[in-house]
Symmetry: C2
Subunit: 406 residues, 2 copies
């Protein structure tokens, strides 16, 4: 078996095509409608936000997938307006998007999944959206993936996509994906959308459990459970065009690895393109009493404005890391704790059983001035560990978010 | 009874004096040592950080107050170095500060409380500190309160102090205070220190319970339980110079009100002087199933970078408020929720039972461009409510925190 990364997207998978259009929702007047279409029925899986407040498309997709996760034909997305906090009218508009697309694509409404991202509150301009969907369907093509990745962008500065081929004795399976999501890395800071396609044959329930595993190893490494936007959505469509099945004991493990690689690559792209982000930092917390507690501590470090501004300033103010670890109620003894930083993991020790090590401050500053580096905190209070990914907090982040709607 | 605000500090209370000195800890070479001294033994109370990682002075003060909360004579503070994450040597240095001050002040070491604020990690330069304490004791004077408030500042831009007189039939009780604490409002973002003095006669256990009430109504409105720095400390000393007792049914309620007013005033000053803060926003959450859940939601709004950057940008992007409310796992139905903003509370309704109201966007922008305004979210899911205070997140905050140590 060979797994190879290809410079590709959702349309590098047999049987999938993408069309885009500019409906005029965004002030920038750039493309804002994306239609991803499969020429065969797909089994489908979805992972959604755990926020109490969800956008109409999330509500609708949950219903659609419950009703029909074996014959999905398309995903229709718009950027610019999130269709969240829009009440019954918003839900009706999401349903209308299904209907419009189903007519254009000659399928049933419940074969269409919907995604919207952008400002919360306003209603969608439905006549623009309707025209946009028709135009996008009219230019569906099997080379449209990158344009699709662009059409779902909001504050993203680069389109995000990734694909792999898995060569098996019986042939090749492809997995392709596009995603968007900027914000201060945590998906609660900006909606994260992802569409993943594959030509493998996988039954829907298996697809759902595999997607859950992949999301937990990737997008949830840049998020806390429950700490999400109204609209976060990752969809996975399998159209079976390869005629290669993935079942337990047969290719499933290989497919899972490929899927994990795709979602991890996209999650990293999202962190790196985080609003104003100039650094990619891996926060590794070990020695915790439980995985949940390791995650709490890692996320507390990864989201601390004081830690993130120190990263931005190339400032090895490691005390802020220790403080962030201590503030979330996870019991540990600083006198058993150790902290390392490095361009590689565990390069220099900064904090040694409760007191600062005799480290070289110039080397520490050098590490913090790298584009990518590692922070490893061992709590000395157990055996569980976890890594999360984060970036820095810059003045550029504030600038972007101070005038997003106005 | 008349309660009157006086332009005063800890030294506007009979029997208290303050001396300051420049020991040379801070690169700015401004005053960094403060000694607050009472000419009589004081009952004393303290509230401390709930962080897992605490500075040596917090450890020591907890011991000192356990050992002796009826005959405290002084508080000795330094700014510039927090003496946190400094191990046994750090604890010994805090003890040394007690000893040095006790010799200078001719009392026992366990009559001295210690506070340190600043960078985490470095050891205190003890010869400088020792000289500084001696110099500060040498210039103790009953007009030194404002200088004391300045000497404990780190990134604060203005000294913080407040005092009230309570006129009773039997005479006047005074309560005076100084505080420091900048950061992004949450004390976890920067150490908060407060010293409160009074000339009332109050037994130590009563003093402790009254301080707890006052802190919960003030400093904890700008904090989450457990979400604190290594060194947050509020001390209250009562020297009885007024000869007026406060006991249950006798002046206690009046004293509590005065104390609440003092701590609330300081908490507001801290928010307003938060790093880079240009706005003071009251977040009121009502209709919650419990006080704890109201607090969780209010704090989620008050600390959301997206909400705070919207405040900075005068941007009535209220969707971010709803999202922040929804992300902390408190169950509520957006369709029962309502949101108001205003220069006064409940001025205009923005969100009405799950959908945007037909409000005037220009008026909303005008409100968000005020220096002080109110945000009120009713969750429609209970009867409990709470207010917290917060500010905006500006590029200036990031600038300050990107180069604090370097």
């Amino acid at each position: 078996m060979i797994r190879s990364i290809i410079e590709g997207t959702v349309t590098n998978v047999k049987g999938f095509e993408v069309g885009t259009a500019t409906s005029g929702i965004k002030p920038s007047n750039s493309a804002d409608i994306m239609v991803l279409h499969s020429n065969k029925d797909c089994t489908a899986a979805g992972m959604f936000t755990t926020n109490q407040v969800v956008g109409a498309p999330v509500e609708l997709d949950r219903i659609t997938l419950k009703d029909n996760n074996t014959a999905i034909r398309a995903v229709v997305a718009n950027s610019g307006i999130a269709n969240a906090c829009t009440g019954d009218q918003g839900f009706n508009n999401a349903t209308k998007m299904q209907e419009v697309a189903s007519k254009s694509l000659e399928c049933r409404p419940n074969q269409i999944l919907i995604m919207s991202t952008g400002i919360i509150g306003p209603q969608l301009p439905m006549s623009k959206i309707t025209k946009g969907i028709h135009n996008a369907v009219n230019n569906l093509n099997d080379n449209g993936g990158i344009d699709g990745a662009k059409a779902i962008m909001t504050t993203d500065t680069i389109p995000k996509y990734f694909a792999v081929n898995i060569k098996l004795p019986e042939g090749t399976i492809s997995i392709g994906a596009i995603a968007k999501g900027s914000g201060m890395i945590h998906p609660n800071m900006a909606t994260m959308l992802g569409c993943i396609t594959t030509d493998a044959c996988i039954e829907a329930s298996r697809l759902q459990s595999m997607l859950k595993i992949a999301v937990n190893k990737s997008f949830n490494k840049i998020s806390i459970d429950g700490d999400t936007s109204t609209s976060d959505t990752v969809l996975l469509l399998a159209n079976g065009s390869s005629n290669i099945s993935c079942t337990e004991g047969k290719n499933q493990e290989l497919f899972q690895k490929g899927l994990n690689q795709v979602t991890a690559a996209l999650a990293k792209q999202i962190v790196k393109d985080g609003e104003g982000v100039t650094k990619f930092v891996t926060i590794h917390v070990s020695g915790a009493p439980s995985i949940e507690q390791a995650h709490l501590v890692a996320n507390s470090i990864a989201t601390s404005p004081l830690v993130k501004t120190a990263f931005a300033g190339h400032d090895p103010n490691w005390g802020r890391i220790i403080v962030a670890a201590g503030k979330v109620g996870v019991a540990f003894d600083p006198k058993l704790s150790n902290l390392w930083i490095g361009k590689q993991t565990d390069e220099i020790k900064i904090f040694n059983n409760g007191t600062p090590s005799d480290y070289n401050i110039e080397i520490a500053k050098e590490i913090f001035s790298e584009n990518e580096f590692y922070v490893h905190l061992d709590l000395g209070s157990g055996t569980k560990e976890i890594s999360v990914w984060t970036g820095d907090l810059t003045t550029e982040y504030v600038r972007i978010n101070s005038d997003y709607t106005t």
